[in-house]
Subunit: 370 residues, 2 copies
Amino acid sequence: MATMREVAARAGVSIATVSFVVNGSRSVSPTTHQRVTDAMAELGYTNNVVARALASKRTRIVALLFPALEERLGGIALRMFMSAATRASELGYHLVLWPSGETERDVRDLVSGRLVDGVLVMEVQLHDSRVEALLELGLPFVSMGRTSQNDRVPFVDMDFEEAVEQALDHLESLGHQSIGLVLEDFSASPIVGYGPAARTEEAFRRSVARRGLRSASVTCGPSSAGGRRAAHDLVAALPDVTGVLIMKDDATGGLLSGLAGTGRHVPDDVSVVSLASSTANGAATEPTLTTLDAPGVEMGRLAVESLVARLDAGVGAGGEAAGGAGAGAGAGAGGEGGPGGEGELTQVLLPCVLHVAGSSGPAPGVGARG
Amino acid sequence: MATMREVAARAGVSIATVSFVVNGSRSVSPTTHQRVTDAMAELGYTNNVVARALASKRTRIVALLFPALEERLGGIALRMFMSAATRASELGYHLVLWPSGETERDVRDLVSGRLVDGVLVMEVQLHDSRVEALLELGLPFVSMGRTSQNDRVPFVDMDFEEAVEQALDHLESLGHQSIGLVLEDFSASPIVGYGPAARTEEAFRRSVARRGLRSASVTCGPSSAGGRRAAHDLVAALPDVTGVLIMKDDATGGLLSGLAGTGRHVPDDVSVVSLASSTANGAATEPTLTTLDAPGVEMGRLAVESLVARLDAGVGAGGEAAGGAGAGAGAGAGGEGGPGGEGELTQVLLPCVLHVAGSSGPAPGVGARG
DNA sequence: CTGAAAGCGCTTACAG
DNA sequence: CTGAAAGCGCTTACAG
């Protein structure tokens, strides 16, 4: 555990010079640079990040605020965790997992210990007091998901509107004219407006109207029982239904068997598309589900890149730990943050990827059918 | 952002005294204590954790080492992440997510930045170079999962042996005499010996022999297709099978329909128990699955408690952030670590919880059947 | 291009 | 019970 002082002594330079070499923060003559590099190698020197943090007032730690009491979190949240941590690491940062309630109080703790330079917020609601608190505190942050009032909020979110278009394009191209939507039931939940469900429903409503499709939408309780019930509700509301969009992973199996229970076979009689899901989840049912895969990995990655770009903005030529903050996916703007300014407001909507599997096919009477 | 110096000035004491009050590290007279407390409140003082870390040489940060490239991670891993972070927070620590490969190299980075006091390792294999490296480095750690040679390794793991007993007890009590085991197929994987599968298979082999049950075991590929195939393989190997233990969440749906494909109805003809799963996962299929729920939340919590107990051992009377490190579940020893020593070796096996649902019932010909 | 020095905000022997 | 002071290992104006 050699210190900078020891390296400096061995190289015959000041510790300031060692610091410059380590961080690339000042240019150093080639020979001096070499001597320092050699000394570091010989002593096995590594930077003490805590000391650096105290002196530089930047910890290079970002927090990922997650709802500690949330039971509904699934595979997509896990992917976000992992990809955010991985990307942070690549960019020379560390990701600390920060459990939080919905309260503003939890957010204040973030800033008080001065442990983190910036924050990622998960599971953001249409009205989210954490986002308000963050805005007020002035702590750099990026929202994963978005509030309804978001003109001043940097966010990365799934493009639910586009996902609905993709799903409807797919079904319409197969000849389907009567399409149902199945969304999670939040009526008994403390959550007032759940963004994903609200945006999906709104987008669906508009799109079927524009397309001139027959439609209905129902809500759905948890697990296979909820899905089975939803199947019956949907068939009751829209007896000639031939296409279903569902956004509730744990209910898809029940939806399939519920449809079977009404004498409708998937995909021969009814096609099903699972929204904001994953190919892996879709492969667990029989038939396998056509899915619109949620960009969980990309969201975690881009959220970190956007946050780090902002944190690094205005700071002199970054050192070894750089690694290229270039993004490159989705719609929206990718804000790199000019060298001078605070960086533009980054707002990114990421598309889902359509994965066609066994649960969707031509509408009855269309295409190669008996 | 008041500093300790400012608090000291306002209270008319030295900064050492403020430090003692903040950390409870020395007794302070009631009046002085009050003056300091008042000053802190008036100034809104909060401890700068970075400065404390540098001076005390303890960061109160622990790393959770997770396999960055692992695709198989699921809900149980997510629960571990969340519960570990939450418990760490309660104990005055922070949890940083540390992506790693399987290499020893990744482990060395842990120690070099001096950011973390201790480490949690996930997805530990029977032979795990990360564990070896950690042992060698002398960095305090707790393994989640366990290697085959583990006499010197502190770990928290699921009790696979006991889970098999619970499952077989359940099926045997229902009259089942011919029982199959379905495990993930690792033959095409770089993983040499996967602990959970290896331990489960071994436990199953012994237990059916001891119980005098007919048995067979087959491996299973991913998703519903794998499960369906496994059903056929199992029926071929053990035609009179009436009970199945499966430890592969994404294949359970396929197993159920594969059994149906051989003319066997669940639970009337065959009972199925899903090992190391969750009630939520079990509720996604139809019929709902009897599960042995993996103690993911408890594992995360206990691993942190065990690690923190070790880190705090030998350190003077902890401050406000204590909170009680008492555990209290599972077999094995719970090492609190005496005030003097390094703490005993904590090795804990946590039981699964049996959740009986629709997929298991009396064996054909037993109990109330037509 | 390089160095001397102050300072980041704490903790902790060491005295008293 | 309390204080003065050294020191944790860096970064960063400020000079030269």
